[in-house]
């Protein structure tokens, strides 16, 4: 039952049909969050993420300090996490919401202002640019990344309903909003998995990176993306060669048969 619920909720917003943004009113909520940019929750969590998380980490203290700064009662911390069910593995629902907010809000901000429907393809940013931009967004909370990653990796509802779907939504966004070529078959999945693994690899590297301004992380991410894309190229070339060989064999057999 638990697995079924998790699967259903995880799939609920999982890369569904995206209708065009031009014809429809602006959505009130930043899906899958349950509030919009004008809401108090958004203000509290974004201030917490910007000012207090770098100091106190992903904890209730950051949220409470942000509440105090904005003049809200600190008891509001319980309503902030109201959309999450309590978990045995996590300290508080409000912290889970903060973690979710960090993933969702930064994903939306990454592609703000980019519209592939209007912009021609060669003017869109490259995949590498978007990947590095997303890593740069986490420079401020660089010291807290190890904590964040461990909270996300704990096998719980948060992992299946937020962490993994968000990761794949991020890689999907990176490919859709960049000038990267997209595919109609299994390559669609392979490319997204490759980008997700590159991103997670770089994030884990970043969590332990002590170099100035995370220079080594960016070099690592670039190289890893390059390697993964080259792997894709190897596969494509092999497939093309195999197909060419098959076709020439078929044609050879046909011509021999025609000669009689």
């Amino acid at each position: 039952m638990f697995c079924r619920n998790v699967a259903r909720n995880g799939c609920k917003f999982h890369r569904l049909y995206h209708s065009n943004p031009i014809e429809h009113v602006k959505p009130l909520h930043i899906k899958p969050l349950t509030y919009g940019k004008q809401s108090p929750q958004y203000k509290v969590l974004s201030l917490a993420l910007l000012e207090y998380v770098p100091k106190h980490g992903f904890s209730e203290r950051s949220i409470v300090e942000s509440l105090n700064k904005l003049g809200y009662p600190s008891s509001m911390v319980s309503s902030i996490g109201a959309s999450n069910s309590p978990s045995f593995f996590h300290s508080s629902t409000a912290v889970m919401e903060l973690v979710k907010f960090q993933l969702v809000d930064k994903r939306y901000r990454l592609t703000e202002g980019i519209n592939p429907d209007v912009t021609s393809r060669y003017k869109l940013p490259s995949l590498e640019h978007l990947l590095l931009k997303r890593l740069e967004m986490d420079k401020l909370i660089g010291g807290q990344l190890a904590d964040l990653m461990s909270q996300l990796a704990v096998p719980s509802r948060l992992l299946f309903e937020t962490a993994i779907p968000e990761l794949h939504r991020l890689s999907d966004d990176m490919i859709y909003f960049s000038n990267e070529e997209d595919h109609h078959d299994s390559a669609w999945y392979a490319k997204r998995l490759a980008v997700s693994s590159t991103y997670i690899g770089s994030k884990l590297f970043m969590a332990q990176d002590k170099s100035h301004d995370f220079k080594e992380t960016f070099a690592f991410a670039k190289e890893k993306l390059h390697k993964v894309m080259r792997l894709g190229e190897y596969y494509n070339n092999t497939e093309e060669f195999a197909w060419y060989t098959l076709m020439s064999t078929v044609n050879l057999v046909k011509s021999q048969l025609a000669r009689g």
């Binding site: 031009i22 429809h24 009113v25 299994s186």
Partner: protein, 233 residues
């Protein structure tokens, strides 16, 4: 891959009956800028997006299957029975066009393709080539069975699109968005093309196929199972 081998030339075709090929060349909404005062539609509900997600995925997989079935038939029959060549080529060209349209929609609307795509490719080619190897009539019976199922499937989708997408607009009126209208007209055109293929198959003696009931009923069942799984997986 096979579609790449065939060169798609809509101009100057000897057997062109429908003009729909030209109408639906670029069906997705072309309007990029829309002024602020134009009324906007409410956002689609989760159920509506989930339905459209399935529609695009299953139709893409279906058209891919049709494309490969005709490729298989053409591969076997084109040289042995030259009188069938233009008929098959015409139907195949239309399927290539349908396939491309849904491929574009899949990328534009960000729907994931069916995970079983490699299976559809191999299965469809084998089905087309296999029935063509039995006899040209069996190939036509295969076309008849496939197009019957597809026609009904498209009709079901059209019914849903007509009933379930009465969206509210900011000016108080109701009705489907341009995007839904365009998808509906695309599917309607494609349905008509598929039913034309059904007629063509019957005209070319699909009823003369030897184990007629076995072939048609077997293929209809396979198609229904394929549709069911392509919607979900």
């Amino acid at each position: 891959m096979l579609s790449r081998v065939s060169v798609f030339k809509p101009v100057g075709r000897a057997f062109s009956v429908l003009s729909s090929l030209r109408i639906t060349e670029h069906t997705p909404a072309k309007k990029t800028e829309k002024p602020e005062h134009v009324p906007r539609c409410e956002n689609l509900s989760d159920a509506q997006t989930a339905f459209l997600d399935r529609v695009i995925r299953v139709d893409q997989a279906g058209e891919l299957g049709a494309d490969y079935i005709y490729a298989g038939q053409y591969f076997v029959l084109a040289h042995r029975y030259p009188h069938l060549k233009p008929v098959l080529k015409h139907m195949w060209d239309q399927e290539v066009h349908h396939h491309n349209t849904f491929n574009n929609l899949q990328l534009k609307r960000r729907v994931r393709p069916s995970l079983l795509t490699p299976l559809w490719k191999v299965g469809a080619f084998a089905m087309g080539a296999g029935t063509a190897l039995i006899s040209p009539e069996a190939a036509m019976a295969c076309t008849e069975a496939v197009e019957t199922v597809i026609g009904r499937h498209y009709n079901g989708q059209l019914r849903n699109l007509a009933n379930q997408f009465d969206l509210k607009r900011t000016d108080g009126t109701r009705g489907p968005s341009e995007e839904i209208k365009s998808l509906t007209s695309t599917i309607r055109n494609f349905r008509d093309d598929e039913l034309e293929h059904l007629d063509t198959a019957i005209k070319h003696d699909s009823y003369m196929a030897v184990p007629y009931t076995v072939i048609t009923e077997g293929i209809k069942t396979v198609c229904r199972v394929a549709i069911w799984s392509a919607e979900r997986i």
